[in-house]
């Protein structure tokens, strides 16, 4: 119980810290922070799939991009659509897509599953590129951020700080929900399924259904992040649905580490900041990102979060077996 309380306190502190940021940060950095929060959600959703369920997907960008495009198309074509409705439409469409694709792909495991997700991602990419009349093809789509309508009142979120607050509250709440999800029976089922699927099946769990639910859920969360991505930049291009976007999330998750819930959030933070500064210094930043990625995969498979955890343990002198092996997610605190 004590562990849980510190988690809740941690969440509250983070939100409060986030709330004062617009007073401290300049416009440029506030924009960056908004981006970080959105990508943190994207990375968290991917980690639920990879770190918790052990499903390696190379096609997570199809959900992110689908959410992004659906939100953009809905905003353009539906008159007077409010901001949250646009997000909701993106979210619902990705739920359907996630369910259908999951039903088709989850019959396979391991390398085969990874291959199929990549193939489906490129199907989405091909459609987005060729369906010029709807997606804008290579030109992408520009939108104007709609107003936020809460039923009784509506206010504009055109300014950087107001959209930042909206992102902090909504996306932040969804991240907390994802964490809550890992604590529920469903979340634990997924985790145990990864550890010993046969036993779970023997105990009467329908592992295929659980996996499909998780796949749909993580896809929908990625779609939500995608919708916010569109609203943040007020623009969406086909790069949002390309393999590069999958590579980005892989990098974030692996920099942060798959073993803890908060690892990918840290990873998104490091990735975005790194990308911003590295791209100022050199045009070759993707190359450095790739080298960092391969280095992490080979030498630090647990990512930054594992390194932090083992350092913390060394100092606190406690020696529980938490740092043994990557992805001991069941013990991960927030």
């Amino acid at each position: 119980m004590k562990q849980k309380n510190t988690n809740y306190i941690g969440i509250v502190v983070l939100f409060l810290l986030g709330a004062v940021m617009p007073l401290v940060l300049k416009r440029y950095h506030l924009n960056m922070l908004t981006e970080i929060i959105i990508f943190a959600l994207y990375a968290v959703s991917y980690n639920l799939l990879l770190g918790y369920a052990g499903l390696l997907s190379f096609g997570h960008a199809m959900f992110f991009g689908l959410g992004a495009f659906v939100a953009a198309v809905a905003t353009i074509h539906i008159q007077g659509l409010t901001l949250l409705s646009a997000v909701l439409i993106g979210f619902l469409v990705t739920i359907i897509a996630g369910f259908l694709i999951g039903a088709l792909l989850l019959r396979h495991k391991g390398a085969y599953f990874a291959l199929l997700t990549l193939a489906f991602n490129s199907l989405f990419y091909a459609v987005a590129t060729k369906w010029h009349s709807v997606t804008g093809g290579d030109d992408g789509l520009s939108i104007t951020r709609p107003e936020l309508n809460l039923g009784f009142t509506s206010f504009p979120v055109a300014s950087v700080s107001s959209f930042y607050y909206l992102t902090l509250i909504v996306v932040g709440a969804v991240i907390v929900f994802c964490w809550y999800f890992t604590q529920t029976a469903m979340g634990k089922t997924v985790l145990l399924m990864r550890e010993n699927e046969e036993r779970m099946r023997f105990l009467g769990y329908n592992t295929n259904v659980s996996r499909l639910i998780l796949f749909t859920f993580t896809g929908a969360i990625a779609g939500l992040a995608g919708a916010f991505y569109t609203l943040h930049f007020q623009f969406v291009s086909i790069s949002a649905i390309s393999i590069d976007m999958t590579t980005a999330v892989l990098l974030m998750v692996f920099i942060g580490g798959t073993g803890t819930f908060w690892g990918p959030i840290l990873g998104a933070f490091v990735y975005i900041i790194f990308q911003n500064y590295l791209s100022d210094i050199t045009d070759r930043w993707p190359l450095f990102m790739g080298i960092i990625f391969v280095f992490m995969v080979l030498y630090v498979p647990g990512g930054l979060s594992q390194t932090i955890m083992s350092i913390r343990q060394r100092f606190s002198g406690k020696n529980d077996n938490r740092s043994d092996g990557p992805a001991q997610a069941e013990e991960a605190p927030l």
Partner: protein, 288 residues
Amino acid sequence: MSNFPVFFLHGLAYAGLLFLVSAGLTLVFGMMNVLNFAHAAMYMMGAYFSYSIVLRMTGQIWLSMMLCPLILFVIGALIERFLLRRAHVYGHVQELLLTFGLAYIITELVKWHWGNYPLAVNVTGILNSTVQIFGITYPVYRIFVFLCAVAVGIMMALILYKTRLGIILRAAVNDNEMANTLGVNVPLVFMGVFAFGAALSGFAGVIAGPLLSTYPGMAQDILIDAFVVIVVGGFGSLGGAVIASLLIGELQSFGVLLFPKLSIALVYLLMVAVLIIKPSGLFGEEEE
């Protein structure tokens, strides 16, 4: 349908190229259980090395055809020995991630060195001529591509099923611990197989240069098609790769003729159909 022979031959040429790429992919997967996402990146390296060789040696594509596979054989062996083997310790996911990361790095390096635009490789001599076939005039080079694929396919089948080396390879696949116990140097076999796969992709890259031109997106383009070949043909099946390559090559070719707007989706539709009807692929064995 006066265009029929042209499109048919186009399809054959692309099928040949697809087979060269997917054969290496499926071989490495079948032997080592590693799905090599960097396979197509090595194919691209082959194409770019060939471009540089042809440029310096005034049009000697024959030279590239011999040199590039050798270079990639060495690169493949080094990758297996120093990177893949290390990742193997951490498990399957790590191996896939490693090859994915390598593909990314190779693509960036290629963009850096050769630029982010298409480069043309031209062939000279007899390969640059045309021939009368089925009552049409057709470039020799495309037929040559197809013949190369046939030759490589036959060679692979002969090695795998008619030689002692083939027996060792198949033994290492079937039960590598037992093969190891019986005195087969399994790590060496794996290194050889991976390097051979890389050499094969390098060869395919050389062939692809004059056919499709050389550009940084070529790896991803062929990778997806090769994946579809593997899905349709069945994982790790060489025979399946032959049939699926032909099927997809022709589908690509006639798709452009018959349904210009849908052509890009046809290949994926075939894949989805196979996934629904026979998830293990046309010639694949059931998983587990």
